[in-house]
Symmetry: C2
Subunit: 142 residues, 2 copies
DNA sequence: CTCCAATCGTTGGTGCGTCCAACAATACTG
DNA sequence: CAGTATTGTTGGACGCACCAACGATTGGAG
């Protein structure tokens, strides 16, 4: 027995276990590209909304501004995004995804899709739909 | 729109959101006692199995030995557990929960139960049962 | 009985995701 | 113009989970 009777079966425990497993699969898959969740989220935000300020990226991707800064430091050093001062508002940077960034994002997208499938693998199609619906209900009220 | 179309609805995202919400409720509730999840898990392990070595606690509670050490440092300094060298095997410590520890655990147990309810509050009884069952399936294969 | 392998506790470090406080530079408002 | 707000950056923190190394100790193989 590897876990406590008092804890096993508790919703908070089951949620954290299931999430831990999903995140492990995800970060494993992403690590093959030397990338973390933050990198993907920023790339996806840029692909979706086009060139944006870092504050806008943070808002869209649900990240703190300071974390956006660090993440873009990485992405820029890898040539996946460019960061230039906004001439119209010199407080802002205009961050844009590069061709290499789009290509990498495409790979990450495919990887992400595979991970979703691996995560849900123990469930039938019916169960998957039910689970997602219930999780969505649980998520509202953040 | 606060989140990415590409991410919302994805199982990994929903899981992490739902889990984040649950953990936030939990750590909020525990923080009123100045306690974290590790403290609860160690106290619960000791209450369940009686005086144990730190290695046994780690095994039962699913924690790394090093984290057990740090957690017991805290609990001992708060008077919730005692740690004495095992005369029968001087590599081991025998860790025991104190009366104060039992009392604290009782409070934490009640708190934990309230949190479970708060987490599941958006769901009907039927939905709760279904969710727990599906999460359990997902958790297997850790 | 000796030597080697295994175990225990401890220290110190890594990683990820999340969050906060402070600061200088710049923009906007009254 | 004065004061307020926003932006990016830096540096730090937290919680949970891991890992590597070390000395001390024990147990087993020969």
């Amino acid at each position: 027995m590897s876990v406590l009777d008092r804890v096993v079966g508790r919703p908070t425990w089951l949620l954290s276990r299931a999430n831990a497993r999903a995140q492990a699969l995800l970060s494993d898959a992403f690590s093959e590209f030397g990338v973390r969740g933050y990198h993907f989220r920023v790339l996806a935000a840029l692909d979706q909304d086009g060139p944006s300020s870092q504050a806008a990226i943070g808002h869209i991707a649900g990240m703190d501004r300071s974390d956006v800064t660090a993440t873009i430091d990485n992405l820029a050093s890898w040539g996946l995004v460019t960061r230039v001062l906004d001439p119209a508002d010199r407080r802002r940077n205009v961050v844009s995804i590069t061709d290499a960034g789009v290509a990498r994002l495409k790979e990450l997208d495919a990887t992400l899709a595979r991970v979703q499938d691996a995560v849900l693998q123990p469930l039938t199609a019916q169960e998957r739909a039910t689970l997602l619906q219930l999780l969505a209900k649980l998520g509202r009220g953040f």
